[in-house]
Symmetry: C2
Subunit: 340 residues, 2 copies
């Protein structure tokens, strides 16, 4: 069943069928209805390959989600898709794992899908530096800031990662913690966890505390990875009274590791997470965390992208602030366990 069959059945040319298919105005109501009836009757759907092969430009946007299992990104992704639905914009979602190069994949997809714009959820700055210049359509990087990148067609929506790290440090300081271990993500300085770590250091420095490398461990976004990292951290920095994990999913591995070492949370060790995923609120203890405004990130990403597509705005870099969400996993340091 092709457009030719429909044309024959309807007694019209293929051009006319194409017009009916694409809601083109130059067609009589009568003809359009007849064609639509036949399409329905034969349950015909046009071949997308042929369509995009020929089309000079598609009309959908591309959503690249890096971190298929991430509950945090899922929440934003769903928000974006909802926003797009409401605006009548088709979105083609592509999932990548943590190691993939999202920019290279996007470049390839651009040729095949010819999207009008792209939203990158959870991208890696270095991938953008390496090859984003090949992408010429409007794009938005969500959850990491692109303000230091030299691209005029790339906006970004993120939290202020440096300030967020500082805030985490201050919250833990206010609770009396002086010996804090840190579980961080990706090892790039310009990525969110690099910026947050710098913020944490700055926050502690204000209180006269220097964070050394022995207080920091790397982890991927797998719970098991955070578990291992915590074991290693406690080995090299046993005096810690609190752990700051840069993602709630990591905090879960952290808490389990602490429990397995016979430590109570938060009585012996406090744990602070980051992101504010749904699971954090169902965990036991409920995870004390810094909540990222996922719905705001979603709607702003869409708004920036459509604005750039319609040429009403230029590339723009928005930074939001996370909210402290008290849970049950962090508490004031007890006097008797203070090292000082």
């Amino acid at each position: 069943m092709t457009i030719k069959d429909i044309a024959r059945l309807a007694g019209v040319g293929v051009t006319t069928v194409s017009r009916a298919l694409n809601g083109h105005p130059d067609i009589s109501d009568e003809t359009r209805e007849k064609i639509q009836r036949i399409i329905k009757e034969y349950n015909y759907t046009p071949n997308q390959n042929a369509r995009t092969l020929k089309q000079s430009a598609g009309k959908s946007i591309l959503l690249m989600v890096k971190g298929i299992r991430s509950m945090f990104l899922s929440a934003i992704s769903e928000g974006i898709q909802q926003n797009a639905d409401e605006a009548g914009i088709a979105v083609s979602v592509h999932y990548l794992d943590e190691q993939a190069d999202e920019v290279s994949v996007a470049i390839k997809l651009c040729r095949e899908l010819k999207p009008v714009g792209i939203i990158f959820l959870g991208g890696e700055i270095s991938n953008f530096e390496r090859s984003f210049s090949q992408i010429k359509i409007p794009c938005v990087l969500s959850t990491a800031s692109a303000k230091n990148l030299p691209f005029e067609n790339l906006s970004s929506v993120s939290i202020d990662d440096f300030a967020s790290g500082r805030k985490a440090a201050e919250l833990l300081c206010d609770m009396g913690h002086r010996n804090v271990g840190i579980i961080r993500g990706s090892d790039e300085i310009s990525n969110p966890s690099g910026l947050r770590l710098a913020g944490v250091k700055e926050g502690f420095r204000k209180h006269g505390i220097v964070i050394s490398e022995s207080q920091v461990e790397f982890s991927s976004y797998a719970i098991s990875s955070a578990y291992e990292a915590t074991m290693a951290l406690c080995g090299k920095f046993p005096e810690l009274t609190a752990v700051f994990a840069m993602a709630d999913i990591m905090a879960i591995g952290v808490i389990r590791a602490l429990l397995d070492m016979g430590k109570r949370v938060p009585t012996d060790v406090s744990v602070m997470g980051f992101d504010g995923i749904e699971l954090a609120d169902y965990f036991s203890p409920r995870i004390t965390t810094l909540l990222q405004p996922t719905q705001k990130i979603a709607s702003l990403s869409m708004r920036l992208l459509t604005g750039m597509i319609h040429d009403t705005i230029r590339a723009n870099h928005i930074q939001l602030t996370p909210t402290f969400k008290p849970g049950e996993s962090a508490a004031h340091l007890r006097r008797n366990s203070m090292a000082e």
Copy 2:
């Protein structure tokens, strides 16, 4: 940059470039190497739209994953992709949400991707009954049995859901539980949770216990949904001493709800999960569960599919057995809280 440009650059015809691209044998080493050098140099990748538009049959398999956020299905999905990688088979993964009709979507994708086979992860039996007859290529349904469906090109790999439900009932009975609440999934009788519920009833009947409708609540695969379901369940069946949740992700919502009602797990109420996702092992308490053999499901699914594709086997329905995994969320009923 198209195949024509490459042909011009290499001083050969497009047919020859196509041959080099597709690893066709009828080409001299010299020519192939020259073409490959140019492809690398210009970083050319063929347009998939044009390719599949023309190709009578593709060579990739389709993997339809229903339940994008499901950690259980993710584990199987990753196993399948790994198996496919090792066998040198390309797989195109498509994610759907719980409400989508995976069979209709697959029918559409077949026309566009022309896959040689499809694996459905987490499908709904009723969708297969409605429209699977339109699919003519070999398919495998994973995690639900298709043995009662009349399709010669559809195999299945699943656990024996009825026996699994009975096993859960027996385990809880052995722990002394007589008043067990059940949090089940999808409301279709022929789907896994329907079969498991029938198994649970059978298991309890052997011990002279009848499970009434007031002991059963529905839940989606969202933690919050299981939380609400548990609240409702405890309202209408307050005497329960154990809850069987048909997915670990539900068990998390169940435990949180019980804790919020001031009940201790497992001291006051035992909770048994299902699936054996990684998170279950990091939760506190560790979730007692029935572990599905995800890696075995993955490898068998691939083996069945490739066997059918190469016509060496016919459609086949394999049922596996889950393993009891003792955790910390279920325990023997304490004497003093026994109702009898």
